[in-house]
């Protein structure tokens, strides 16, 4: 049997062995509750602290500005609900985009139901939000702007630094960035962009599932999502997921250490993938191809005449794992909300799939995957006579 080719790293990644080892050690020996005052508790607390230190350094923020969550979804929910509730006396206007991940988009919709006024910005055809649109949408009562750094379906990089510069003197407006797909791919420049809140997730960077983090700039307050023991400086109650947090710390350290090289490699493979895909008849690349506009690891392409879902399953029988869009919404039979916003035609929406690479992806894998894809697409088109 041919080895599997896993090109679904935006859904989740294979944990690094050292992250796994660190977790196993925590599971085996350091089982204390970090809130306990005795030695067992202190050891666990130290390990959590070490992980926080590692991640804070990697992000270039203070340790006290980082809080652990159960993942990217909780971090994003906490940012939106927490800021909206905390600062509602300042105003009830929120700006976000039509291409956010479901956990921001649906949180914003929920806030709308609760009486907030939410502006969902469109994107241009390349999937990028325009700074001008943010400027136009901003109002005196805008309390929060939430925009993702890298779109999880197309890989389009959003102009976070520019938006940050615009918002810098808007002191009553918090700027939240969902950096789940960007973290580990390029420097986030949190302080330079003047970000107030930023979400990251462990399992997208070869750490364990079930853990994420939210950067909260010193001086920013949030109404918590979970109440209880007052862990994480009262922002997030609940006994810490110690092994998860420790595994996250280890994964972050390696990811950041290898980032520059890995990003260059992935970008090279992404370009190769796009060039190879372009050879297939009637393909449409949905990822921006202009320099600097796309993340190094995501390529979205449409094959009109083929249903994306059918293609995913056909490739899977050949041991190739890709996806139709975000895993979180992959059970939906409807077309991708993100791609609809970029103005694709119906056959293009229907035939879209996403390839997402990791630092471990090889050139041979890319070539082999495209070869299989090309023949699969041809076969499927023949079958459906389209």
């Amino acid at each position: 049997m041919k080895p599997d080719i896993y090109l679904d790293n935006s859904a989740t990644t294979k944990p690094y062995p050292e992250a796994v080892d660190a977790m196993v050690e925590m599971l085996q020996t350091h089982y204390g509750n970090p809130s306990s005052l005795h030695r067992k508790g202190l050891t666990a607390e130290k390990e959590v602290d070490k992980a926080r230190d590692r991640i804070a350094k990697a992000l270039g923020v203070k340790k006290s500005e980082l809080l652990f969550t159960s993942g990217g979804t909780e971090a994003n929910n906490l940012a939106l609900f927490g800021a909206a509730e905390k600062y509602k006396s300042r105003g009830k206007h929120i700006i976000t985009t039509q291409i956010e991940h479901a956990c921001v988009f649906e949180a914003a919709e929920e806030l709308q139901k609760r009486g907030y006024d939410v502006t969902f910005l469109p994107v241009k055809q390349d999937g990028v939000v325009e700074l001008e649109d943010v400027k136009r949408a901003w109002r005196d009562d805008t309390i929060l702007v939430s925009i993702m750094y890298v779109n999880n379906e197309t890989g389009a990089i959003q102009p976070i630094q520019k938006i940050g510069a615009f918002l810098k003197d808007k002191r009553k407006t918090l700027f939240h960035v969902d950096a789940v797909q960007a973290f580990g791919k390029f420097p986030l420049k949190i302080k330079e962009a003047g970000l107030d809140l930023l979400s990251i997730s462990s399992h997208k960077i070869h750490g364990p599932k079930g853990v994420g983090a939210l950067y909260i700039r010193d001086g920013v307050h949030l109404t918590p999502l979970f109440y209880g023991g007052g862990q994480e400086r009262n922002f997030r109650s609940g006994t810490e997921n110690v092994p998860g947090i420790v595994g996250f710390g280890v994964a972050v350290e390696r990811t950041l250490r290898e980032m520059k090289e890995a990003t260059e490699r992935m970008a090279g493979l992404r370009d190769l993938l796009i060039r190879e895909l372009a050879q297939i008849e009637r393909v449409h690349i949905n990822t921006p191809t202009a320099t600097g506009l796309a993340a190094p690891h995501i390529v979205n392409a449409s094959f009109p005449g083929v249903r994306g879902e059918v293609l995913v399953h056909a490739l899977e029988t050949e041991g190739i794992y890709v996806s139709t869009g975000s895993a979180c919404s992959s059970k939906d039979k409807i077309y991708s909300r993100v791609l609809q916003v970029t103005g694709l035609s119906e056959p293009e929406l229907e035939g879209a799939i996403r390839f997402s690479l990791s630092a471990a992806t090889t050139e041979a894998e890319i070539r082999s995957a495209v070869q299989t894809l090309a023949s699969t697409v041809a076969d499927l088109r023949l079958l459906s006579r389209r």
Binding site: A11, K14, P15, H203, Y227, T239, Y321
Partner: protein, 388 residues
């Protein structure tokens, strides 16, 4: 360094070797996103569904009634807030007790900020909230009642089945925090008469960072993590795959070994109490926990032994015990850092001096009679020295 005698199992427990072994493949090779439609995703999804069956069986519920969370705290928050928000049109009154875990107590305070009205019922001096006391607190606009099954500081078992019967007959939602009860009491959601029940993995030799909420299939309930279709749209977020697998395994064991553990832990408790009784003047210590029983109400759970040593400040005693290699606590770990007098013992109406000298020993099946006897001996030693 000497091995620690760990008597703080109500705070957290050691992860069982079989649980760790069950988790390992999912930490490593089986890493798919359970929401992915391809094989790697389906394999992950299947593992989660197996764990869900294990948890459902333990609670005698059906699999579609189990929602995995990031732990007991999230389960409690989701239960109380979710039920309160779902029914706020009908009324905004909530009844709970003044001795709940902070995961419920502070959640209720948050709901008060949102305009809900909360009644906090006090326990009696035994640490039991009576059915009568709950009944008196009920109002026509009461929508949710949340009472813990076992108190985490005293081990007192609350009459949940009776409270649940009363409450649900009036069409009110009944929630119980069963975090401390799991593995020692039989948890049958139908017999307990509950609509919502929270449990946590790390209290039963499972991993931290995962818990579950039982949600009765007919209950109207509002999820509050948004975005993503996971957990049948009731809890967004990529599932903590290894954690959930570990929880399934831990819960399965907890239930299978429940009776044997109950007996074993009773012996541990007896060993400690016997030592105290033979070596300490009965006037110099007093139990804040009840006698052990399994009647599901009015008794104490054997795993938690709360005792006040006259004229010995709990913090001082704990520090001395820690130096002797004995891990115990003065209350719930989550508030241990706060050095505040226990809200549970205070609610029971105990005098402040007794509250401030209360410490909690909590046992698990991993403790031995020898260990506990040794810990009791050292405790007596330290107490006598400090009482001088």
């Amino acid at each position: 360094m000497r091995p620690i005698i760990y008597l703080d199992n109500a705070a957290t427990t050691a992860v069982a070797a079989n649980v760790r072994a069950a988790m390992e493949p999912y930490l490593d090779n089986i890493y798919g996103n359970p929401s992915s439609v391809h094989q790697a995703g389906r394999e992950a999804k299947a593992a989660i569904e197996r764990a869900r069956e294990q948890v459902a069986r333990a609670l005698q519920a059906t699999t579609n009634e189990i929602v995995f969370t990031s732990g007991g705290t999230e389960a409690d928050n989701a239960a109380v807030i979710g039920a309160a928000l779902a029914r706020q049109e009908q009324g905004k009154h909530i009844v709970t007790t003044s001795m709940e875990h902070h995961a419920v107590l502070n959640t209720c305070e948050f709901l008060e900020q949102l305009g809900f009205d909360v009644t906090y019922v006090d326990p009696d001096e035994r640490g039991i909230v009576t059915v009568d006391a709950i009944e008196k607190a009920l109002r026509p606009d009461t929508q949710v009642v949340s009472v813990m099954l076992v108190n985490n500081e005293t081990g007192a078992i609350q009459p949940i089945a009776e409270i649940g019967a009363l409450v649900r007959e009036r069409g009110i939602v009944m929630h119980t925090d069963a975090v401390q009860a799991l593995g020692l009491l039989e948890l049958n959601v139908a017999e307990l008469n509950v609509d919502l029940l929270s449990i946590s993995a790390h209290k039963v030799h499972g991993p931290k960072g995962v818990g579950a909420l039982y949600v009765h299939h007919n209950l109207k309930w509002t999820p509050y993590l948004h975005g993503g279709q996971q957990e049948r749209k009731r809890r967004a977020g990529t599932e903590n795959l290894p954690g959930i697998v570990g929880m399934g395994e831990a819960v399965r064991h907890a239930v299978a070994e429940r009776e044997a553990k109950f007996t074993q832990i009773c012996e541990l408790r007896d060993a400690m109490l016997t030592r105290f009784a033979t070596e300490l003047d009965p006037a110099l210590y007093v139990l804040n926990s009840l006698e052990v029983g399994e009647s599901l109400s009015g008794d104490g759970l054997p795993s938690i032994l709360n005792v006040s040593f006259t004229n010995v400040a709990a913090e001082r005693l704990l520090m001395n015990l820690d130096m002797q290699g004995i891990a115990a606590s003065s209350g719930s770990a989550c508030t241990a850092g706060a050095l505040q007098p226990s809200h549970v013992l205070t609610a029971m109406g105990l005098p402040l001096e007794r509250v401030l000298s209360a410490i909690r020993f909590s046992f698990s099946g991993y403790n031995t009679v020898d260990e506990v006897t040794e810990a009791a001996r050292k405790t007596v030693e330290v107490v006598k020295r400090l009482q001088r």
